[in-house]
Symmetry: C2
Subunit: 122 residues, 2 copies
DNA sequence: TGACTCTATGCCGGATGTGACATAGAGTTG
DNA sequence: CAACTCTATGTCACATCCGGCATAGAGTCA
């Protein structure tokens, strides 16, 4: 497990506030969280590509802006069901989502930061 | 929407008892259900490949046999979260699951039946 | 500064999913 | 038939997730 990955998990507020709690997560838990983060990323990028605000997307899926925000943040209170349903509402097919989440998050050579520093370390 | 697909949905007991209720399902709903059915299939096949009983798998994921049965049936009371977590517990990676759910259910030229006719039509 | 837009976070009542249990169906073995 | 194994289905108390709302942060514009 890389440190950078840990930072991503912590950035999403996955109750991994400390390394101790983190160690209680099984490999399956971590894999599931990473999957959610990947889908969250797909959702955000697709929404932006379609020039929708979080509020707009919320209305599209019959939800609220806050839930969309939590979704894109990979918040632990959002299920994969809602995420996939949202991705489908955005016009993506299961195959497209599958492909997008199968490959890493890097956007073609741009070394952009992905959040990480937003949550103050302590 | 093909009739055969509809049958699969009904076979899973997806509260699509009649065509009327079915029409209330949006495209996203149907896509999500199909995704669940695909993942359910992957879980069942992987479990059998590993020669585990439903009870065995249940203990592996800290659940019960009944939930595993519902999972593999694509029951509406099972979330994608639990399904993916289970797939991961079975040793599958996100990429592997993604690939498996992206492609149709046929197993490399072997023309095996995959259930379908098990549930009597009525 | 204030007004506006977009996004993030906390909370709550109600809806949905969960593990556990009981029980039944289907198949095998004796 | 009984006894056993594996799987399917229904139910329930409890946990989790949901939409909605309030509110705060960050950015833009005048």
């Amino acid at each position: 497990m890389k440190k950078s990955k840990l930072n991503r998990l912590r950035a999403a507020g996955w109750s991994v506030g400390g390394v101790r709690e983190f160690l209680e997560l099984s490999d399956e838990d971590v894999a599931l969280i990473e999957l959610k983060l990947a889908v969250a990323d797909v959702i955000r990028r697709t929404r932006q590509r379609r020039e929708l605000t979080q509020t707009g997307l919320a209305k599209l899926i019959g939800s609220s802006q806050s839930r969309v925000a939590k979704m894109e943040a990979g918040d632990s209170s959002v299920s994969l069901d809602l995420m996939f349903r949202t991705a489908f509402s955005l016009g993506l097919s299961a195959s497209e989502v599958s492909k997008l989440i199968a490959k890493p998050r890097q956007a073609r050579g741009s070394a952009k930061k992905v959040g990480g520093a937003r949550t103050s370390a302590g």
